[in-house]
C-alpha cells in the first residue's frame, strides 16, 4: 500500500471489520525496508541506461555527482537538469498535468515541495541502505518517500578585495547601514528554493519590516542562490545578502576573493531532500542513483569538491571549515513554507518590485 490516499479510499470501500483492523494500525504505511545495492539492481539499471535528475544544485557539483555515478556504474548515464527549485516545482507540475513522465529523481532546496508531491501521491517510497543506517531520523520522511540529501546554509558574504574583514557586516542589521546602499546582491525567492526558505525563516524571526528597509538599499537581484557568490567574485557587488554557502566555498577554492558571513541573528538553514517519482521512466536506475546519492562516497565528494555539508554520520567535514554545530541557525519549517508560499512571494514582489 504505497499511496496514502489510495489506502484511505480503500478503507472507505472496505467492510467494517476490515476497516477496524486497518484503523487499529497507524494510518500511514510504514517506511519500506532498506534496499541494498544488489547486482540485480545494477543490471536492471544498466538495461534502462540512463537516469534523469532534476536538481537545483549548481551545475559543476551536480554534473560531478553524475560523472561519479557514471564512473561507478558504467552503462548508466545521468542527465542533469539544473534550474532553480521553484522553477523545477513549476515544471514538474506542468509535466505531470500533461502526462509527461520525464523525471526519475528530484532534488529541491524548498522542502515544502516534497510535502505537496507526497500529498499528491507522486512519490515512490524507497530507503537506501545508507539512509537507514547513517542518517538522523528527523531528516527522513517516516513513510520513506524522501530524505534530506544535503544541508545548506544561506549565508551572507563579502568580497575581501573590496571590503576589509573588520569592515564587513556581521549581522542582518549591519547591512542596513547606508554605506552598503547599491553594493548588495541577492537571489530571488521566485526562482530559488534556498532563498524562498530563507525568506520565510527571516520573515518569521526578524520580520517583514526588515525587508522593507533592505529594499531601500537598492539591492541588485539575480535569480538563483548560486549566482550571488559568483557576482561577488566578479567584483560586481561587495556584499552578498544571501546565497549558497557551498557555492561560495567552491568559488573561494578556485581563487575567488570571497568570504562567508554567518549573521549574528542566525543563518537560514535549508534542507534539500531527494526523492524518486512513482512514475519514473527508469525506476531501477532511479533507485541505484538514489542509493548512490546517500552513500558515504557521494556525500564525501559533495563535501570535499562541492563545499557542502552532509548528514551522513561517517562523512567528515572539511578541515578548516566552521562546523555546522558552531553556527547559529534559523530553524527550518517546510510545512509553514508550504502553507505561506504564495503569500511570501506576493509580499516579496510588493516590497522589492521584482
Amino acid at each position: 500500500m504505497r499511496d496514502v490516499r489510495l489506502s484511505r479510499r480503500t478503507i472507505l470501500k472496505a467492510s467494517g471489520a476490515a476497516a477496524a483492523s486497518v484503523f487499529a494500525a497507524p494510518l500511514r504505511a510504514a517506511a519500506p525496508e532498506p534496499t541494498m545495492v544488489t547486482p540485480a539492481l545494477i543490471e536492471a539499471a544498466r538495461k534502462e541506461g540512463k537516469v534523469v535528475y532534476y536538481t537545483p544544485i549548481d551545475l559543476p557539483v551536480s554534473e560531478r555527482i553524475g560523472k561519479a555515478f557514471e564512473a561507478k556504474y558504467p552503462g548508466v548515464s545521468v542527465r542533469v537538469e539544473r534550474t532553480g527549485a521553484e522553477r523545477i516545482f513549476q515544471r514538474v507540475g506542468q509535466e505531470f498535468a500533461s502526462n509527461i513522465r520525464a523525471v526519475d529523481v528530484v532534488n529541491s532546496s524548498d522542502a515544502a515541495h516534497f510535502i505537496v508531491w507526497k500529498r499528491d501521491g507522486l512519490l515512490a517510497p524507497f530507503v537506501p541502505e545508507d539512509l537507514a543506517k547513517h542518517y538522523p531520523a528527523e531528516q527522513k520522511d517516516p513513510d520513506g518517500m524522501y530524505a534530506a540529501f544535503r544541508v545548506g546554509l544561506c549565508v551572507m558574504g563579502y568580497n575581501n578585495r573590496l571590503v576589509k574583514a573588520q569592515d564587513a557586516p556581521k549581522s542582518f542589521a549591519d547591512v542596513l547601514d547606508a554605506k552598503w546602499a547599491g553594493k548588495i546582491v541577492k537571489g530571488h525567492p521566485g526562482f530559488s528554493g534556498t532563498i524562498m526558505t530563507a525568506t520565510y525563516e527571516m520573515s518569521r524571526d526578524i520580520g517583514w519590516d526588515y525587508f522593507e528597509k533592505l529594499a531601500k538599499q537598492r539591492v541588485m537581484h539575480v535569480q538563483s542562490a548560486s549566482d550571488p557568490p559568483k557576482k561577488l567574485a566578479l567584483g560586481e557587488r561587495a556584499i552578498m545578502f544571501d546565497g549558497n554557502e557551498y557555492v561560495l566555498f567552491q568559488v573561494r577554492d578556485s581563487g575567488g576573493a570571497v568570504e562567508p558571513i554567518y549573521p549574528t541573528e542566525g543563518t537560514p538553514l535549508v534542507l534539500s531532500p531527494n526523492a524518486i517519482f512513482k512514475t519514473a521512466p527508469n525506476p531501477n536506475a532511479a533507485r541505484l542513483f538514489q542509493s548512490f546519492c546517500f552513500s558515504a562516497e557521494c556525500q564525501q565528494l559533495m563535501v570535499d569538491f562541492g563545499g557542502m555539508r552532509s548528514l551522513h554520520a561517517e562523512v567528515k567535514d572539511r578541515a578548516g571549515r566552521r562546523p555546522l554545530s558552531d553556527i547559529k541557525t534559523l530553524k527550518e519549517d517546510a510545512a509553514a513554507v508550504e502553507k505561506l508560499g504564495e503569500e511570501i512571494r506576493a509580499r516579496y514582489t510588493k516590497i522589492f518590485r521584482v
Binding site: G93, A97, Q223, E236
Partner: protein, 574 residues
Amino acid sequence: MNLTLVVSVSPLRPTFRLDLSWPILLLFSAALCLLILLPLSWLVYYSLHDRAGGFTLANFEQLVTDPIFLDPLLTTVILATSSAVICCVVAAPMGWLVARTDMPLRGTVRALVTASFVTPPFLGAVAWELLAAPNSGLLNKAFRAATGAEPDDYLFNIYSLPGLIFVISCYTFPYVFVLVANALDRIPGDLEDASSILGGGAWTTALRVTIPLALPAVLAGALVAFLQAMTLFGSPAILALPAGFHTMTTKIWSLFQYPPKLELAAAASLPLLVLTVALLRAESFILGRRGYSVVGGRQGDPRRVPLGRWKWVAVAAAFVVLLNPVFLPYGALLNAAFSRVPSEFVTLDNVTLHNIEFVFFELSATGIAFKNTLILCTSAATIGTVMAVVIAYMTSRKAIAWHKALGFLATAPVAVPGIVLGVGLFLTYTRPPFVLYGTLWILLIAFVTIALPAAYQQLQSAFRVVNPDLEEASRILGATRLGTLGRITAPLLRTSVIATWCFIFVGVIRELSAAIMLFTSETKVISVLIFDLNESGDLGAIAVIGILMLVFTFAVVVLINRIPGFGGVRLRNT
C-alpha cells in the same frame, strides 16, 4: 486572371490532369487557422475567466489598477519608443550610406549588420553584462584604469533602463537598416536622373527624391523596431531583474511561477496585442494612399552620391556603430570563454580551457540541446518557407475568396509576443485532441507560427515585384495554379525564398520567449540552455555555447548561399 477563364480554358486541353491546387490551398488555409486561431482563442478565453472557470472581468480590472502591472506597462512603452527612435536615427542614415553612396566597405558593413541580426538578443545581453556591468564590466574597468577614477565610479551601467534600451536597440536596429537599405536599393536611378536633368544637384536629389521615397520604409522600420522592443523577452529576461524592474514580457513570464496565474497572464498580454494592432492600422492609414510604384521590370541602377572626403568619416561612423552589436560583445564572449574569471581580461595567468572542457565533457545537456536546435531550425525553416510561399501566392494573386483574411491571419502572430504565443500553444496542445507538449512538434509549431508573419511579408513583397503576366501566360497555356507557382513563380523568387529560409533559420536560433514556455528536459534548445546557465551565473559556459552557436549559424547561412544554383543571395533581403 479570374476563375471563369480557367474553367473555360481547361476543357480545351488535350490530356486530362487532376488539379490538386484547390484542395491543397484549402488545406493550407485550414492549417493556418488552426495554427493561429486556436491559441489566440484560448488566450481570450482564459483572460475572461477566473480560475474556477466562471466568466469575469476581474483580470482586466487588476491589470489597470494594480501598480505591479501598470509599472511594467509604462516601462515597456518607454522602452519600445526609445528603442524605435534610436534604431531609426542610427539605422536610416546607415542604410542610406550603404545603398546610395560610394562609401567604401559597403558590403562589409552589410555583412556586419547581418551578424548583429544573427546574434540572439539574450546572448547580446549577457555579453553586455560582461562589458558594462557597473563594477565588473570590462569597459568600466578599462575606464577606471585609464582615468584613475574611484572604485565605485563607472561609465556605463547596463543594469538600468537606459542600459536595457541600449542593448535592445543593438539587436533591433538591423530590422530598420534592412528595410531602409532594401527600399533604397529598389528606388531606380531613373527618378534621380530625371531630377538631375531638371537641374537638381546631388544633395537636392537626395533630399527631394530619394529620402521622401524611402520615408515609408523608415516609418515601417520604426514600427517594426517598436514592436520588437515591446515584445522582446530575451534581453529583459537577462537584464531587467538585476536592474530592478519588470517589462511586460518578464512580468507575464513571472506569472507562470508557481502557482501559475494563466488568466492574469492572458489578460496581461492583451494590451500588447491591442497596441500592436492599433499601430499596424495607423501605419496602413498613414501609408495607405501613397502607392510608391517604384519597382518595374526596367529600371536603371541606383545612383550613388559621391561623398568625397567624407566617405572615410562615414565608414568610420558605421564601424563605431557596429562596435556595439558585434565587435565589443563578440570580444567579451571570447574573453570570457578563456578567462578563469569571466570579467577579467585574459592574461597568461588566468587563461583556461576549463569552460570548454565543462561544456563538452561535463554539461550533460549540451548534446541534446544542439541536436534539438538543429532539427528544429531546419524543419521550421523549410516548412515555414513553403507555407509563406503558398500563402503569399494566394493573397497576392487573390487565388481564393478569403485571401484577405488569410493574409491577416498570416500577419496576426506579429501582434502576439512570443511568450504569450507560447502560453497559448501550451494551453492548446496540452489537452486532447492535440497533445503535443513534451515533443519537438509543439516547438516546431511555435517557431513556424512566430516566423510566419515576417516570412510572409517578405515573400508577399517579392510577389508584388513579379509581374503576374508571366503566370497568366502559364495558366492560359493550361498549367495548374500550383504548377505555375512551382515552375514559374518560385524560380523567379529564388533569391527571396532562400533569404526567407535563412531568415527563419536564424530566427529559430534566436527564439527564447516561446521556447521557455514549451520546452521539457528532452526537448531543450540552445537558447533555453543559455537562459538556464544565466540563472546560476555560469557566464564562462554561456560564452562557449554562445560562440559555438554563432559559428554554427554563420556556417549554415554561408553554406546555403554557396550551394550551386542558389548563388549570389545576400542576406540583405531579409
